[in-house]
Assembly symmetry: C2
Homo-oligomer: 797 residues x 2
């Protein structure tokens, strides 16, 4: 197995060794997760997530799941190939026939995914792209005769439609559209639901540019006794032109062709959902039709428009450090993943407030204007009493679902954290003067006051000890039973409030409201005292105290002894003294560090703790129960940087970056194009599965990782006056080239270690800048920055 | 393909020609639907329906569905077999390897299902039974060396566990229990749901009597690249003794054995759900353990106890007519299906009131005491105003689900219909004096008054024309938009109320309340006049009039011209005159009769009619939209008998009875052990799929069919004085032997046609009984009844 990974692509040459290797594509209305073997998960918004390619049975609709298993009849896009003379058959890219290909390639790019499989001298290239906005798959399938003889071939593109509906489903070829059109009615029973149902895109179509030789629309008749591994339909001379009549539909075409040696033929398809046949006709016309305005091929144009759209999601830094894996990931793939979060809101109509704010925090580095709009959109949903809702309703009639039905206590924490990054990047302090209403009060007040009210709400929700009440939960932990009686408190939340107050106090100070700033700093001091009084367990901080006054997350617990979040956030809020810090950091390494990263807690819970809750029922090592939960890890990394622990921080940061040279990761299902929300943990308890990728690319990790890299590791952080340069490069880096796009200007930075240098020295356009601050940044200007580092440097702030 | 069908069993000798052929087993806490190829659907109650053998993905929970598609990785129970020398492999009974067996048998009995597959000289018999009460599968697997040489074999029983939960799932072999134990936590998010969740049986186990050679508990590792059609696990020498760790679990054991020619070995297994390992240990002890009291083999004892339990569901008639298919079905299988309904309440905790009452109407013929209890249980859930609820809550905290959340208007209709059959069978008029409270009023009133109040409620819900308001629906039709504005009316419901009033008037008369009886008869007369005024369309009766005053179900409609229900029930309530009757019956034959039976409406709707509703969105020919909906058909048959149309009635009745000689039915998926809720209709519109069995054995059809046969066809109906003998045998029947168990007595009846006889003549113990009534039936007594029929007789009542 080989993996090629660069800024353009990630490529793999075996579908067998890495059966879960996958890539993803998305646009403004859909998301598609495709793997190296041809399996695909796709969703579109109408406006809630919906499918046009289903499982073979009635699938439950849930939030996006990690570690989704593949199975033989999992939805996918395949091409069966048959030599009409020799009757040799195989399927590309690999499933469902599973012939080991002679040549194989799986190539993930930002704007397309390409598979190539070659067998019996026939090469099949499958290429998938999306248009910019529509929920539609653009497919190109190339057939190549790689042999030296003339061949008679049939190819059969196979697109899963699956079990659409128990009320109504069919699949019929429409010769006018040159498409198999599968129709259904979304099941419902209550009359009240009809108003939504009737507008749904309940059809799935596969539209072909070239007239097919034959087709099949009924799954069972296509597979027959041979099933998908040797379908009766493919074994027969000709597909039966069958229909699905309240049967599981499928879209299969047959093309017969003669191929000369080296000849290549291309077929193009459109696959997606539609409401009506008229809509499908207009899709046909738009992509395959001949129209006056079109100087170029419309299908190709859509592909390039999409590529341009995706390229807009460019990050604000480009680095060249000599570590190619790091460079490729940071320059291309990390901002790509951040951009995905910012554009799609994780394919939900009610994003959790904390996800929404952190995802858009990441967008501050890519599209700050979009991020600003998103923040203001959310803030309008704040309640008059200061509380933020559990989920942001993207449409007025959105219903809060799943975890958003459980009241959490941490939401306001994330407001100043977003703001800090936004101000760092844009210096747009005017945002604080924007006025907005509340969800339950039309009277508009300033953004400043909104946030201030949120902070006040957080501070108010403390108990007599001055610790934050946890209610039915806070961040990152389904701790629904710690405090539901109204008494339990959260160490993490108390720290998070202290940290948020710190950040907010600094912002208050910067805009001249020093009374406020002082007041908040006083609060922080009190909270930190309380934290040390009640939560310090001798070697680390506990996680909380239950309704029944049991402190947990402590050394004497059998499971869940130590949690990472209270350690990270204690560092952020400044609670521990030097001795405490050193001890904590040592303990984190001892208890929580694994070859795959930092575990969220350890040992993972193996049985329900009724005074903690649902977290303890989750499988040990997954999600919140002791996985290497990247979103938690990244805060620890950030906190280490803040605490000047740059070597330790970099070591952990580097571990988080997907790296094809790390076979232990890669063979556990990870392709190096994205960071999953977790790697399986419980390393000491269940080593068999530790390190597996969750395969779920929705995670607040990426925004914070980018921040760590930009503001801390590379140390190029925006401030009111301009930008401060204060890198914390690991000592192993001898030099680096960095381009930083900042407030319209470009900083062209060269960093190098020099023997004679004692501390960091910054030169801008040849001028020595003692405090490392470049002031008066002018948009449109390029600055040459040279940084000299000692061989072992200390930070200069 | 051959089918053997008798009173003991239904047997089939090919899994290929009839891929959906299936049987079912059930006990007081579970239901299991198994097919000839090894696929199984199983559910148990905890108390809501739950699964211990799941699909490979997250399946949606729904009410029981018709026409559920099978797919390669559908849950099942299989045995892989490998010759260790020749490496020949196959799987029994057929899936998932799909080797055409040299010999094959699929045998469905009431108390067990047996598969036999032979390949390469190795025979595998798989036998499945249940215990009487527990949710548990009892498996016997016999391996037979049918060849003349000594063999080294491995067999691998494979039991699907599937995707259990996204919160927690694992599978681990426990050597103390000699079982693979798969554990999970039912997913939930709201704390409030934990109270129920924590009591769930979230484990699935496969317990083996003999120590295995090896095992595998991880689905993916078992299948590997070979998948289920050639699993890596079976290809290898030895299973890897693997565990599933938050991976899809499976239960596979390997047994290696030497087998002499003709040698046979038996293996026994227990498969099912459990809450704890202690519970599994007690199951092991109970069925495989050695205990003092046990004189016989506990496993075998459980099998025979179950057989005895099932045999209790004996019907009240045994016939011998010379038509073996008819006899077997009526004597054994029909009461078995009725018994299933009565015991399990269709595996739901909130049975629809109309289903519940009709299912228990059937139970009047089998277990009248149980039926009485069920009726009284339901009647306590009536509201003070007379309305019955949409669903009966079997437990106090049951929540009404699915269709029971939509208010229907027909519920009270079914009260007197149950009562009539119950009184006919038992003569227990005392039931009318029982006193019961209401759901919303503790004051108890008599059953008589309860029913009377129900009838009054129905009569009250009429419009100014005296037609019954349909609201959001009535029976058999998701007509949720005909009358939701409060104006639309239902022809069927108006007739049903008239018919219920007729029945109720008769009961009132019998208990001497003649004023009431007259009053109700007057109501019936008025309703019938209104029916003729507003619904008669010239050739048949319309189905209803919408909120916007559009009459539908009429000749000038393009789709849904004619519905069967208004025709059947008009005959029952006595609305039509002779001329109307004859015309209607002719039109039903012309428009609705097909080779598979009577369609519910025709032509089936192909598009939404917004003034009718959801019915019109269902797929044409399925369920309520134009299928051969047996529950509707049986009322037409009953109405034909009532109307003296015995030849026509019998022709349709006979068509409904599953018959292996009718290959057109059988090849469409039906085994002759049960009547499905529908056969696919839309015969003229979509001939391809017409006649397919829904495979759903939940249907009110069976109770009414049994009534038709007992009271009408055989004409042995209970009355106050005893029993009236008035057969309506089809002229093709020349004679019949009937045993009728009735109020503790046994009527031993011989019927024969004689040339000299002019009208039906009944002789009891040799005595001629001119009115055909046998009075003063004495329990424990046997009566010899001889009936002489003219060659073409008329009915004598």
């Amino acid at each position: 197995m080989n993996v090629i990974f660069d800024k353009e692509r990630c490529e793999l040459d075996s579908p067998v060794m890495m059966p879960k290797a996958s890539g993803f594509l998305w646009n403004s209305s859909m998301m598609l997760h495709a793997n190296c073997r041809g399996y695909v998960v796709s969703q579109f918004m109408q406006p809630e997530p919906a499918k046009y390619s289903h499982a073979p049975n009635i699938e439950e609709k849930t939030f996006m799941q990690p570690e989704v298993p593949y199975y033989t009849e999992h939805p996918g896009r395949f091409v069966y190939v048959k030599d009409e003379n020799s009757k040799e058959m195989f399927s590309a890219p690999y499933e469902p026939m599973r012939c080991s290909p002679e040549k194989y390639k799986f190539s993930v790019r930002r704007d397309k995914i390409v598979w190539y499989a070659e067998n019996y001298g026939i090469g099949i290239e499958m290429q998938l792209s999306l248009p910019r906005d529509e929920a539609l798959e653009l497919w190109k399938i190339k057939v190549k005769n790689k042999s030296k003889k003339k061949r008679q071939l049939s190819i059969y593109p196979y697109f899963t439609v699956g079990y659409m509906s128990w009320m109504n489903q069919e699949g019929i070829y429409n010769p006018d559209l040159q498409a198999i059109v599968c129709s259904s009615v979304t099941p419902y029973q209550k009359k009240e639901d009809y108003e939504a149902i009737k507008n749904y895109k309940d059809k799935t179509f596969l539209l072909t540019e070239k007239e097919p030789y034959a087709w099949e629309a009924a799954q069972e008749e296509f597979g027959g006794e041979g099933s998908l591994s040797m379908p009766d339909g493919v074994v027969a001379d000709k597909l039966s032109n069958g229909e699905a009549r309240y049967e599981t539909p499928v879209c299969v075409f047959q093309y017969r062709m003669d191929m000369n040696p080296s000849e290549e033929k291309e077929f193009r398809f459109l696959f997606g959902p539609a409401k009506t046949e008229e809509e499908i006709a207009s899709v046909r016309k738009k992509y395959f039709g001949v129209s006056d305005y079109r100087m170029t091929d419309a299908f190709a144009l859509a592909e390039s428009e999409y590529a341009a759209y995706i390229a807009e999601g460019q990050g604000c830094i480009s680095v060249k450090t000599g570590d190619e894996i790091f460079d490729n990931f940071v320059n291309t793939w990390l901002p790509h993943q951040i951009y995905y979060h910012g554009i799609t809101n994780r394919m939900t109509m009610d994003p959790q407030i904390r996800n929404y704010l952190q995802d858009h925090m990441g967008m501050c580095y890519i599209k700050p204007d979009r991020s600003r709009d998103a923040f203001l959109f959310a803030l309008k949903q704040q309640f008059k009493n200061g509380r933020m809702p559990d989920g942001i309703k993207l449409k007025e009639d959105t219903v809060l679902k799943y975890i958003n039905q459980i009241p959490h206590m941490d939401h306001c924490v994330w407001l100043p954290l977003w703001l800090e990054v936004y101000l760092n990047e844009t210096n747009d302090y005017d945002i604080l003067n924007e006025t907005l209403p509340f969800a339950d009060d039309k009277e508009a007040i300033s953004v400043f006051k909104h946030i201030d009210r949120g902070m006040a709400w957080m501070i108010k929700n403390t108990d007599s000890r001055g610790l934050c009440l946890i209610g039915q939960g806070d961040w990152c932990d389904p701790m629904n039973m710690v405090g539901y009686k109204g008494k339990g408190v959260s160490a993490w939340l108390t720290m998070a409030v202290a940290y948020a107050c710190t950040v907010w106090a600094e912002i208050c100070g910067k805009i001249g409201w020093s009374d406020k700033a002082l007041e908040y700093k006083k609060t922080v001091k009190e909270l930190n005292e309380n934290i040390n009084t009640y939560f310090w367990d001798g070697k680390w901080y506990a996680r909380g105290i239950t309704d029944d006054n049991r402190i947990f997350g402590i050394e004497k617990d059998r499971e869940g002894k130590i949690y990472i979040n209270p350690q990270s956030w204690a560092l952020l809020c400044g609670a521990p003294d030097k001795e405490q810090k050193e001890l904590m950091i040592k303990m984190v390494e001892e208890y929580l560090e694994t070859p795959y990263g930092i575990e969220k807690l350890s040992p993972a819970y193996t049985a329900m703790q009724e005074d903690i809750g649902r977290l303890t029922q989750k499988y040990p090592g997954t999600a919140e129960n002791g996985s290497v939960y990247n979103h938690a890890s990244v805060f620890y990394i950030y906190a280490l940087y803040i605490s000047g622990e740059k070597e330790n921080a970099y070591r952990l940061l580097r571990k988080m970056i997907p790296d094809p040279r790390r076979k232990d990761f890669i063979q556990r299902g990870q392709l190096p194009v994205f960071i999953p929300n977790y790697f399986r943990g419980a390393y000491k308890q269940i080593p068999k599965t530790a390190g597996r990728s969750s395969q779920l690319f929705n995670t607040g990790t990426v925004a914070w990782l980018y921040r760590c890299i930009i503001e801390e590791l590379l140390g190029i952080k925006g401030i009111r006056d301009g930008v401060i340069i204060s890198p914390q490069l690991p000592s192993e880096w001898k030099k680096a080239e960095i381009i930083r796009r900042f407030r319209g200007a470009e900083l062209d930075i060269h960093v190098e270690r020099e023997e004679k240098v004692n501390k960091i020295e910054v030169f801008v356009d040849g001028q020595y800048v003692p405090d490392g601050v470049i002031r008066n940044i002018r948009s449109g200007t390029s600055y040459k920055v040279s940084i000299k580092l000692p061989v072992t440097e200390e930070r200069n702030i």
